[in-house]
């Protein structure tokens, strides 16, 4: 009897070790119940509704983001399931280390049916054959691409094939602490303000007391959107003919503005996570803060002062980096039809109403960008940036498939500039040397 108990305990222990290793591959082609036909709501703005009739099964949908985003997509999924009762969508929310998990799922052949991918990863996943060609999906659901900004779809292409579709985007704008400007008696910058104006205002709005800075004129991040903005606004060909070209005089000129803001004490040296810069603005210690749309929900909920957004100051020109998450369908999914239908709902006006209502990002459709129900305040700066969204150097660099490593090299060298141990010229030379010798041979 004792031996039997021992054997049972040992088996139970061994089994408990393997339960954590169970596959989370989604069940596909499951028919839970007979779907109840629903009537099309009058206010539904989704051209995929007719195609959804008769669909049944289960798909998994993986995405990242903060908790606001998780809830928004939970609401979106619930709305879709109400309209298409035969379909169940499993939400796979991954707030941190998203790509580690995504790649591990890909390697174990358990990739979700539909998943997000940033613009920097498209080439890598395309080369591995993990994403379905969405050309047919665009033909079946033309509303997805109708009215989309020119060039937006390019961020979801690799080698000319449409592998994924950008779901929304953010550009970079300058957030302004209006109360600080009013207190200093300085008018809010307008659209035609320049980098020189930015430097001057940053100095005027920086306050130092007893050797400590109590208020910074601005803050900057060591982040790709910042570099692309600063370099792009001087029309710098920072990536040219398949090679890193950050030593270009215009690129150096743009990056020097960013470095000088810190060197002059107008901006703190950027931290590694960027959260401290967001926090500095929220607690009212920064007058101007360049960032994307993703900070809007936090600012709405946490800033206790008046704030707004204006366009990034111009150099000799103006560009705005295109920061997006694309939606892709697993090439091995056995529920591609359902996944495509769900994708069409995500990108419909009804779907975007769920995901853009908190102000987290900007729609890619010219018609929707001026709709106040879709693009909440602050809207004007983002509408203005839609006229010059995208940077051709960014597209070219993304197409190499080495964007992540290239980013790391740039970030590492620039961090040494920001902490004062090398100049921009030295950093640019180091970046080009390292990148061109190891990545872009």
């Amino acid at each position: 009897m004792k031996k039997l108990i021992c054997i049972f305990l040992v088996l139970a222990l061994t089994l408990s070790l393997t339960t954590a290793c169970s596959s989370s591959a989604p069940e596909t082609s499951k028919t839970p119940e007979t779907p109840v036909a629903t009537e099309k709501p009058d206010d539904l703005k989704w051209d995929g509704y007719e195609a959804s009739k008769g669909l049944s099964g289960k798909i998994s949908f993986m995405h990242f983001g903060d908790d606001y985003e998780r809830q928004m997509y939970a609401d979106l999924i619930a709305a879709y399931e109400d309209l298409v009762p035969g379909v169940e969508v499993e939400q796979v929310y991954t707030p941190g280390d998203y790509y580690t998990k995504l790649q591990t799922l890909a390697a174990s052949k358990t990739l979700p049916d539909i998943f997000w991918l940033s613009e920097g990863r498209v080439k890598e996943f395309a080369d591995a054959g993990l994403m379905a060609d969405l050309t047919d999906v665009l033909e079946k659901y033309p509303a997805i691409s109708d009215g989309m900004f020119d060039g937006a779809l390019d961020y979801g292409k690799a080698d000319g094939i449409q592998y994924c579709i950008p779901k929304d985007y953010t550009s970079y704008v300058m957030y302004i602490n209006v109360d600080m400007f009013k207190e200093a008696g300085i008018p809010i910058p307008t659209s035609d303000w320049t980098m020189d104006d930015y430097m001057k205002l940053s100095g005027e709005l920086t306050k130092v007391a007893n050797g400590r800075t109590t208020q910074y004129g601005t803050a900057v991040n060591n982040y790709r959107a910042d570099w692309i903005n600063f370099m792009g606004n001087y029309d710098a060909p920072w990536f040219k003919d398949g090679k890193s070209n950050i030593s270009d005089p215009n690129a150096v000129k743009g990056l020097k503005v960013q470095a000088d803001l810190i060197k002059n004490g107008y901006a703190p040296a950027p931290g590694t996570t960027g959260e401290s810069e967001d926090r500095l603005f929220i607690i009212g210690q920064i007058a101007m803060y360049p960032s994307g749309r993703w900070v809007v929900p936090s600012f709405i909920n946490e800033c206790d002062f008046e704030w707004t957004a204006v366009e990034f100051p111009k150099g000799t020109t103006r560009v705005s980096p295109f920061i997006t998450a694309n939606v892709a369908i697993n090439s091995q999914s056995s529920s591609k039809e359902i996944a495509a239908n769900f994708l069409s709902f995500q990108l419909s006006q009804t779907g975007l109403g769920y995901t853009l209502s908190s102000g987290l990002s900007v729609p890619l459709y010219e018609e929707l960008i001026t709709d106040k129900n879709i693009l909440a305040e602050p809207a004007e700066a983002f509408i203005a940036t839609s006229n010059y969204i995208g940077d051709k150097e960014q597209v070219e660099a993304l197409g190499t498939g080495k964007w992540s490593e290239y980013n790391s090299i740039i970030s590492a060298e620039l961090s040494l500039v920001f902490e004062g141990s090398q100049t921009i010229e030295q950093a640019a030379a180091n970046i080009d040397k390292k990148a061109n010798e190891t990545l872009f041979k």
């Binding site: 040992v10 931290g271 902490e419």
Partner: protein, 307 residues
């Protein structure tokens, strides 16, 4: 007189059957640990050796390239920098961590009222996840509004870039790690201290021993087995430092806190170079093995076991 043959075939068979049954029971009890070792430790180690000979990006098809990854590794300035930083970390972190743990253990060995409360307090950071501790210290170390710089401002000391100054970023992370882990080593050393028989102290007291000599001649020699274990495990753990760097600095500023484990992770999951990352893992395996063997050779001589 007839005698009982205790070695009769029947008894021998019965003994062997019992022995076999005991052995089977034993193996079944160690089966869970053995299976998990084989699946989660041995298999990945062997797989790393194999994958290091391939050019493989986890998503694509592996391509055999022999020792190319190793050649690239030893010509990679970032890897060399990461290796130097890892050794720097071991040299800073291990002695400091053990010294702090020993001092706390000696203090916790004192027969004071409420000592249990202090033992719990010192052990609390060990129970807190490293991610939580690292995030906490990111804010404590924050240059602009971190509590550390705020306290220093009362002494007219200007703000220090604890994590943004490449000269001190590694040390800042090490300080956090010592605070987090010293409770664990303290516990091991404390239990060793409490295992020293009182008769030794009584005998030494009769000879008029000073507290310092008590420490040097009685306590330290007799806790050597535990000290050996603490040093060995601390060195092995120190070579694999990752979470602190990943959360607090992402290897920056520049490459000043890039450790081999962090660079390995970046190559495996961010740059899509799993084969290259495995080559790094193999090199680290060999380095840790050599260091452990050297350590064993040096320290084992000095370990005294209480008879």
């Amino acid at each position: 007189m007839a005698s009982v043959n205790t070695n009769s075939p029947k008894k021998k068979t019965k003994n062997m059957t019992l022995h076999k049954k005991d052995a089977i029971s034993g193996y079944m009890f160690i089966a869970p640990a053995l299976i998990s070792f084989l699946v989660f430790v041995l298999y990945p180690v062997i797989a790393s050796f194999v994958i290091s000979g391939f050019n493989w990006g986890i998503l694509g098809t592996p391509k055999f390239i022999g020792l190319e990854n190793y050649k690239t590794l030893f010509n990679d300035p970032v890897f060399i920098e990461s290796l130097k930083n890892t050794f720097k970390w071991v040299i800073i972190y291990v002695p400091f961590s053990i010294l702090v743990s020993l001092i706390i253990a000696l203090a916790m060995d004192m027969p004071l009222r409420g000592i249990g409360f202090f033992r719990t307090m010192f052990y609390l950071p060990v129970m807190t996840p490293m991610v939580v501790c690292a995030l906490l210290f990111v804010w404590i170390y924050n240059t602009e509004f971190g509590v550390l710089n705020y306290v220093l401002s009362f002494f007219d000391i200007s703000a220090i870039g604890w994590l943004s100054d490449k000269r001190i970023s590694l040390i800042s992370i090490a300080l956090m790690s010592v605070w987090k882990h010293s409770g664990y080593n303290m516990l091991i050393l404390l239990s060793a201290l409490q295992g020293i028989p009182d008769s030794l102290y009584e005998a030494a007291a009769l000879d008029g021993i000073t507290p310092w000599r008590k420490l040097i001649d009685i306590k330290l020699p007799l806790i050597m087995p535990s000290m050996y274990f603490v040093v060995l495990t601390s060195v092995i753990d120190a070579f694999q430092v990752f979470t602190e760097v990943f959360i607090m600095t992402k290897g920056g500023p520049g490459y000043s806190t890039h450790t081999v484990s962090y660079y390995l992770f970046a190559n495996a999951f961010e740059y899509g170079k799993m084969g290259y990352a495995c080559a790094m893992a193999v090199v680290m395996f060999i380095i840790i093995l050599v260091v452990t063997l050297i350590q064993d050779k040096i320290m084992n001589k000095n370990v005294q076991y209480d008879s």
